[in-house]
Symmetry: C2
Subunit: 344 residues, 2 copies
């Protein structure tokens, strides 16, 4: 039986919450690489919240996925065959693979992954974009100082788990926020954050205020919604808000009436001299060597831990993605598309 390229195409654009009907599964012939190109076979496909934005037609920070085309996405692949002198058969790489089992690349924007450094799956996780996002957002934008209080939302997730652990290394008091008791236990017991609160608790706001007796100096914002509304009033003078996502708001249509309307928000930003800065990891590729060096070291010394939530089979990608938007994953969400020869 000839091997086929398993693909998930975007079939329609969601209004509000996506459903399984928004994608279509197809199998097409495996493409043939041309001159200077190589054929990649996806091993791990990364599922990330930003992909929700790609499903919209409206302007986001990257081009929308096109109807009838494979969904955007990066993955860790093995080079099956190469006409590109920079890559050879058997190399492991991270690239823009899309939601499919095979892809052809001319090598542009492709990064090699060294399996002797760390498990190759980390190339789309702690040593990839989530690691870069955490590192740049916390250190370059948040600039936490020893003794300050840092609040991290989605604290057991791909980005938040790294943010919280780096903040601990920098000597901060770190309060994680997550969506279940299990996740909170993991955040405190395994990742070493000082406390972790469940934002689904009725008295979450009161718990948060109690957990931050000295206010909040850095809020790493990647969820929005109720967590933002609870943290914002606790911000100290000269606080910083690195803003890399608003997952709770991604499926919103229209303008909801939250407690934080813009004029009141801006008043607080001024009075407390708060700095808010939106950022996207791909603007900060120059920091990748630092990420790989520092996070690589911290993984080896055990100061930083990571957790992966690996879903088997590309067939299950859409369902796993819908779960991600609802916080069902526990750890960095990956889809195993083909066997990982480096793993026992």
């Amino acid at each position: 039986m000839t091997e086929m390229n398993k693909q998930w195409l975007l079939k329609s654009r969601p209004v509000g919450e996506p459903t399984l009907d928004n994608w279509e599964y197809v199998e097409t012939p495996v493409p043939t690489p041309g001159e200077g190109e190589m054929l990649l076979k996806t091993i791990y496909m990364s599922l990330d919240p930003y992909m929700r934005g790609r499903m919209n037609e409206s302007k986001s920070y990257a081009a929308s996925a096109e109807i009838g085309q494979p969904m955007s996405g990066t993955g860790v692949s093995v080079v099956v065959s190469s006409n590109n002198p920079k890559f050879k058969e058997g190399d492991y790489v991270v690239s823009h693979t899309l939601w499919q089992s095979h892809s052809v690349s001319n090598g542009q924007g492709v990064m090699k992954v060294d399996p002797s450094n760390a498990p190759i799956s980390t190339g789309v996780g702690i040593l990839g974009m989530p690691g870069l996002t955490a590192y740049v957002g916390l250190l370059d934008i948040g600039q936490p100082k020893e003794g300050e209080t840092v609040v991290v939302s989605a604290a057991s997730g791909a980005v938040g788990s790294i943010v919280g652990q780096i903040a601990k290394i920098k000597g901060c008091r770190v309060i994680g926020v997550a969506g279940s008791e299990d996740k909170c236990r993991y955040v405190v017991d395994e990742l070493g954050m000082d406390e972790c609160l469940n934002y689904k608790d009725d008295d979450f706001e009161a718990q948060l205020e109690k957990a931050c007796p000295n206010g909040v100096d850095v809020y790493f914002e990647n969820v929005g919604g109720r967590v933002f509304d609870a943290v914002f009033p606790l911000m100290n003078d000269f606080a910083r808000i690195p803003l890399c996502g608003r997952i709770a708001n991604y499926n919103m249509t229209g303008d909801p009436d939250g407690p934080n309307k813009l004029p009141a928000f801006m008043g607080t930003m001024l009075v407390k001299r708060i700095m808010l800065r939106g950022f996207i990891s791909f603007d900060h590729y120059d920091r990748f060597p630092d990420v790989v060096r520092d996070l690589g070291n911290w993984i080896r010394t055990g100061e930083v831990k990571y957790k992966e939530d690996i879903v088997q089979g590309i067939e299950n990608a859409p369902e796993a993605f819908l779960g991600l938007l609802k916080g069902k994953n526990f750890g960095k969400l990956l889809v195993q598309v083909s066997e990982d020869p480096t793993r026992d």
Copy 2:
């Protein structure tokens, strides 16, 4: 007739727009300075938008004015008599004089003003807090680069006029926004900004879009309201918003339903990687020497001009202040409380 201390006391806290009833005029004996203290006679009293915040009980960035006490405020005074070795009779100083004709000071936070450097009234204007606000907000926070587009609201005002002129010196395209044709003409003809738009025009939003064909890189935010709503959608990727005031919103009670609700706002902040930072000039006193040097030079070379709107007599302070909140002043608003011996 014994000279009396003319004072404006805060009588009641306004709900929404202040009225003349919120203040009470009294005359009390001129105070006597104690050991280490000096008696100051106010020449120019500064009226500034931030004073609206001091009238509220709610937390602002400075303590509220107390009911029954003189309103907060800074002014340029002459030293009438001094028991403080650092100051002598006849010195001109800037200090926290409050809304009154005489004050006693122990010298803390008092800055001398050199009448040979520039007119002493500039001590509460272009060489004082408004100059510092413009300088720090534009240069340190806005960081404009040559060729970028800068939009300045309240462009004929104390702060905006300086922001726009510094931005021109730095090689930017500068679009001013003001509230009358007269002000706009002054902003373009006298201050040299590239264009100036009247935000009261029906088609202001369309005019602004046309005036910014390359988008907006720095928006110096000190008015809020309709101007902010028009500028924000034009912001470029990596734009900066120094935030030093929201005069259009100061009298708001409750949360108005503007077109920019918070979730949509945050989405744009993220997608465009915008930086918003609230700041208050008094956190940046360390930059005062640079302000006095650079703005002093630019005034002497004629590269920077300033305009004062001087109201005669402390009796008229409340009415002038109400006019300031409505944009009735044209230039830096001062109240002349007593004769200026340095002026012809």
